[in-house]
């Protein structure tokens, strides 16, 4: 902008109106932009402001002395209130009571607080419910395990009973050899037709074996031992134990030896505990 233009802008009187607050928003922004850009405009504005201030001082009117305390009090007692002080004397003079509409701001504030409280309460209820659900689920799992356990037991007992009812089974008591303590005995059931052998664990009368050894049942078929599996002897053993299937329909004898845990391929003959034949 040329110096002449700035001069013309200053001469236009817009700066005076700006200082008096008598300009539109656009004009105000324009004056502020001009002042920021051109020192001459800024200096001119300063001058106008100073002269207007001096003019106001020249035309000053001292307010009543009592007003000082009243004004300062109202400023300092209204510290928390940002709204303009409500004309104090006005309400006494006016008999008209202004009905202020309920503030919507408050309603939303309370509504929001209520919603928040409800949300928190719901959240707590949901967590409680979830915990109870988890508890129920684990209870159901326990019950199912129990049920499975009982079902298994019933099945097992059924099959044991089956052995007793089945007429194809023959029972045989294997008696102690000199190697075993007196009175040692093992009862077995054998079905030729079904190729099955059971050991009656409930009536087992054998010394308790250690962790390194197990008893092994053998069938002697045509003079050769046939492995029928291992079992343990413990004071609380119950029920019947199904051993390996046996293909042969004719046996010389059944015998039990004490073998290293897991059993052996061939029986350790000097550890033969009981033997018996049909």
């Amino acid at each position: 902008m040329e110096v002449e233009d700035i001069k013309a802008y200053i001469e236009s009187g817009i700066l005076e109106l700006y200082v008096l607050g008598d300009v539109t928003r656009d004009e105000r922004l324009q004056v502020e932009a001009m002042a920021a850009k051109h020192p001459a405009v800024k200096a001119e504005l300063e001058e106008i402001e100073r002269s207007m201030e001096a003019y106001a001082e020249h035309n000053a009117v001292e307010p009543a002395e009592s007003l000082r305390g009243r004004v300062l009090n109202s400023v300092l007692t209204n510290l928390g209130d940002d709204s303009i002080f409500d004309k104090s004397g006005e309400s006494d003079k006016n008999n008209i009571v202004v009905l202020t509409p309920a503030k919507p701001g408050n309603f939303y504030k309370y509504a929001f607080a209520a919603c928040l409280a409800l949300l928190i309460a719901s959240g707590i209820a949901l967590i409680n419910l979830y915990n109870k659900l988890q508890e129920s689920k684990s209870q159901i799992a326990v019950l199912q395990t129990d049920r499975q356990h009982f079902a298994n037991q019933v099945n097992f007992v059924e099959s044991e009973l089956g052995v007793l009812r089945d007429t194809t089974y023959k029972f045989l008591k294997l008696n102690a050899t000199p190697k075993a303590p007196a009175g040692a005995a093992v009862s077995i059931a054998w079905s030729k037709q079904k190729h099955k052998v059971w050991v009656d664990m409930a009536s087992l009368k054998m010394p308790v074996n250690d962790q390194a050894h197990q008893y092994q049942l053998w069938a002697i078929v045509a003079g050769k031992p046939v492995d029928l599996g291992v079992f343990d002897s413990s004071p609380d053993s119950t029920g019947m134990k199904e051993m390996k299937t046996i293909a042969a329909v004719k046996t010389d004898a059944f015998a039990v030896t004490l073998e290293p845990r897991g059993g052996s391929e061939n029986p350790t003959m000097d550890q033969m505990m009981v033997i018996g034949k049909f």
Partner: protein
Amino acid sequence: MSKRTKISLSEEELVLALRNREKIAIEALYDMYSSSLYGIISRIITDTPAAEDVLQETFVKIWHSFSGYSAEKGRLFTWMANIARNLAIDKIRSKDFKNQSKNQEIENNVTFIDEQRNTVYKPELMGIKELVGTLKPEQKSILDLVYFKGYTHVEAAEELGVPLGTIKTRLRMALTLLRKHFN
């Protein structure tokens, strides 16, 4: 005149104290500017209780909206004077004020106000009175209308029946004459 010592601070100190919401700031502000601001208000509102109410509202508003003042955009007094002028204009234009006050015609209180009230004695301002007296009547009336009566320049043009451009020029010339006194 008051026996109490008036508090006076530099404009920078005052602005800083106002920003920090110090109690002394509002006291100093009152002591330094209440008469100038009351001069503006009482020329717009001749009813003394109403003018006093507006002065009170002015200080409350200055205090509460002080964050809106920016020193880069102008002098503190200009900002405060505009608040006082706007509140005074709002007051005389409000319905209940019009109803209750026995409003005088504008001409009655513009020119004769100084005879009715005690203006403050300020030695440094001696001479300006004479200077104002040297203003041409049309320059003085435009200054009074716009500066004290709160007329917008558009309203003043209508009131005086002169074109807008003339109003602006007269206002500028009046203020330029006043300024010469300080330069």
